[in-house]
Assembly symmetry: C2
């Protein structure tokens, strides 16, 4: 019998509710001989208010020994914007070198897109997760005065870009359409942009079977709504990936369905799976949140840990559930329904 050590970080707002459903489906999906040891970590607004800490060193050390992390959502209006995001969520992504931030954009049958004309959408965004404008390198001068100056530095390295670009080429090569689009803004952010473009071209020589193109981020948003079917795999930097994947979620039926993986493919540290949505404090605790994004993130977690068949089962169950949807169901009713399909 195998065993799996899973860290669970429900976090804030609806995090608790959606993670519970994710675990329900995980239990239903795993083979009987796999024992899951889950450890729940109470990180987020509650811990911060109690102790002033966002990610205690001892917790970080313990997390390192886990096979994977399932995260709900981080952020609460009672905590200044950025404290939990930078001190917990981004800290985990950076500490565990989650350089592949994987976010599929797929419009599933039965799901209503806000776009007219029933578009066919099936792409995946490979977002860089450890560099760019997210490094936290910035500061202020004459803080709080009318002469304040604030900076944010985007740091980009050949090393960091090369590994995410190569990962994206591999994914593109493994898909039927074999198409990879680089998104940046190399006509304005010329230093970072040209580095991305250079490495994109260089690595591309190893993948002659992959067809490539380049779009400025502003133009990419246009195609997301007018021609989303043109995309297969997209590779982009941390900030552009953040923006594009929320837009991707919107056109594929909403953030209630958008899954993500913060992946360290080397295995040196645990990878972390989380819905793209936030903590939605306005509907927290009411059983209104759609747990599907978390369930699909659990499928990505399964896939990552080598349970490809089980991952496919969860995805199929979600697809069937979406097709059958009618009326309003509570968070746990959705989780129950998907878990039942997985077991059934």
């Amino acid at each position: 019998s195998r065993s799996l050590r899973l860290a669970v970080v429900p976090g804030d707002g609806i995090g608790q509710e959606v993670v519970a459903e994710g675990l329900k489906v995980l239990a239903a999906a795993l083979p009987a001989d796999v024992k899951v040891e889950t450890t729940e970590y109470d990180l987020g607004a509650r811990l911060y208010h109690r102790t002033g800490e966002t990610l205690p060193g001892a917790v970080l050390e313990e997390l390192k020994t886990q096979d994977a992390i399932l995260l709900g959502a981080i952020g609460d209006p009672s905590v200044p914007s950025g404290v939990l995001e930078r001190g917990l969520l981004l800290k985990l992504r950076f500490a565990f070198d989650h350089h592949i931030n994987l976010r599929p954009g797929k419009l599933l049958p039965g799901v209503q897109s806000p776009l007219a004309g029933d578009p066919k959408i099936d792409f995946v965004v490979v977002r860089e997760g450890t560099e760019g404008p997210y490094v936290g390198n910035g500061g202020t001068l004459r803080t709080g005065t009318e002469h304040e100056v604030a900076t944010e530095v985007s740091l980009n390295t050949a090393f960091g870009i090369e590994r995410v670009v190569r990962d994206a080429y591999k994914r593109a090569a493994a898909r039927p359409r074999k198409k990879l689009t680089l998104v940046h803004k190399n006509n304005v952010l010329v230093h970072a942009g040209h580095l991305w473009s250079r490495i994109f071209a260089e690595v591309g020589r190893e993948f002659p079977e992959v067809s490539t193109d380049y779009l400025h981020v502003d133009a990419a948003t246009i195609f997301f709504v007018t021609q989303p079917e043109r995309f297969d795999v997209i590779v982009t930097d941390n900030l552009f990936g953040d923006i594009l994947t929320d837009l991707a979620a919107a056109v594929t039926g909403g953030i209630g369905l958008a899954a993500s993986g913060n992946i360290n493919p080397t295995g040196a540290f645990p990878s972390m799976f989380e819905p793209v949505h936030g903590s939605a404090p306005d509907i927290a605790g009411q059983g209104k949140a759609d747990p599907t994004a978390t369930v699909l993130s659990v499928a990505m977690l399964l896939e990552h840990l080598g349970f490809a068949e089980e991952a496919a089962k969860v995805e199929a169950a979600v697809a069937a559930d979406l097709l059958a949807r009618s009326g309003t169901r509570s968070t746990s009713e959705v989780g129950d329904a998907i878990a039942a399909r997985v077991s059934g």
Copy 2:
């Protein structure tokens, strides 16, 4: 009789074609006693290839003496990405301190949005034009090697933010809905983001009649496609404004219709009006480009120069033309039709 000194920079690709139609409509719109002295400046790829220059100092000096600038489009595949954008377009915006980059997002009757369900869209984006990640403050180390590091520094000042935020409040206060949304990413870009948020709150105290909210840029893209009617006036930084206004153009019928003004409200330097679209080299010279975005930019130019009635006339002519559209027309046919409505 009054006179108007207008600089015309057709630029690259379709720039020439669309600017010609803009001038046609301008001539039709202006009162008979206003004399327009246009001076055409051949800037862009041709000049660059001929001389290596993007914006000669003498031209910059001459432009300063003009009342306004009408620009077509900048950028050509024969020139490395960024050379003309940074060396000409952004150089003009920065040299003339165009801190208000004004971009309306309005879905006009008769225009098909890619969004389902016939949304009502009528907002305006006030994009900061002289700061943020656009300042060109960055560089590379170990350039061209596998150890390259590239930086881009976003510079933000209380002074720069305050003036654009105040302008946005004024615009919001003058509109029926009186609503202003700040868009940034203050949970990640905490230094710049908190400065924006602080000043947004401070200036807001002078405009108690304006209701405000805040959205992270990623969330804003979701609402652009799921609930665009929620927006009235949006104020945001240079990069986020670039991204959001292309998306705004997409949901309001395409960049063929999206106008913009690079405005220096102090009048110290000429303001510049240009379509949001690029030079579209793939369709250049074929009479296929839609000149409507340029014509609407001419309306903004008229408004800026104090010809409010004439601006309204041009807008009405465009609205009527859009409603009457059927079949394919050439660039000049569209310009002729609108000009005829303006004169008629």
